[in-house]
Subunit: 123 residues, 2 copies
DNA sequence: TTGACATATGCCGATATCGGAATATGATAT
DNA sequence: ATATCATATTCCGATATCGGCATATGTCAA
């Protein structure tokens, strides 16, 4: 009996369904961290993180599917770069729980400390 | 040939391995959102979210395993409550990318808006 | 003790994951 | 045209997921 394409069974949620799932894997978080310092090539990332090339390509594929990285093709190289804003949904969600570990004043402290650090840098 | 207990194969990362994995599932995020307004019972949560009782119990089990919820036993009821600080690792990680979508001034705006909202509430 | 209620647990089928190995695709240089 | 380098894709085995359903555990009340 042919299975209808209409009744899809959702067992595990695909990693490409949203950013939360994509980022659940530690290696993928490592990749994003590595891309924080700028564009990088698949080979570079593989060496830096000690992962095989296919593994890195696959992980980048997932990250690309949810839009958290972009690619720039350059000859036989592919430069991957971070697309931070795609992570905002996570930030926004977790932020609603911030009050449970931080008071408003704590956050003000954080902000001031940061401004000071910035001032130092620019002087 | 008997398989040694020492060579465990890690295919998919278990949802109980860390908070990131636990929170990857949308239903579990919904549960945490629901618990944001205070303690709740398994039955209450099941009805509020339109999930079956076993499903809720299992999800809460995962959330409890990573410490993001705590339980209080009360007769035949079990009151689950949020343990926000367990979400901090997520916040801390995603925060390092905040600069990619928010400028310092944007965040100052956010803070001020929040303080105003708070003032309104207390007046 | 028996029964009703609240929750946890076990088993199942369908499915998706992850890394490894092999191979395909694609671009550049000779 | 061919060899080489960089990356993507496919197939595989082992494993974990998720919801449904049935059932076990545990608590209170009559």
């Amino acid at each position: 009996m042919p299975i209808s394409e209409y009744d899809i069974e959702v067992a595990r949620t695909p990693t490409t369904s949203d950013v939360f799932n994509a980022v659940a894997e530690a290696s993928r978080r490592d990749l994003l961290d590595a891309l924080g310092s700028g564009e990088a090539t698949v080979g570079e990332l593989a060496e830096r993180l000690g992962l095989s090339q296919p593994t890195v390509s696959k992980h980048l594929g997932v990250l690309r599917a949810v839009g958290v990285v972009h690619v720039r093709v350059d000859g036989k190289h592919r430069w991957y770069r971070l697309n931070g804003p795609a992570l905002k949904p996570i930030h926004d969600w977790v932020r609603t729980f911030e009050r449970t570990w931080n008071t408003r004043l704590d956050r003000l402290d954080d902000l001031l400390a940061e401004l000071q650090a910035q001032e130092k840098k620019q002087s």
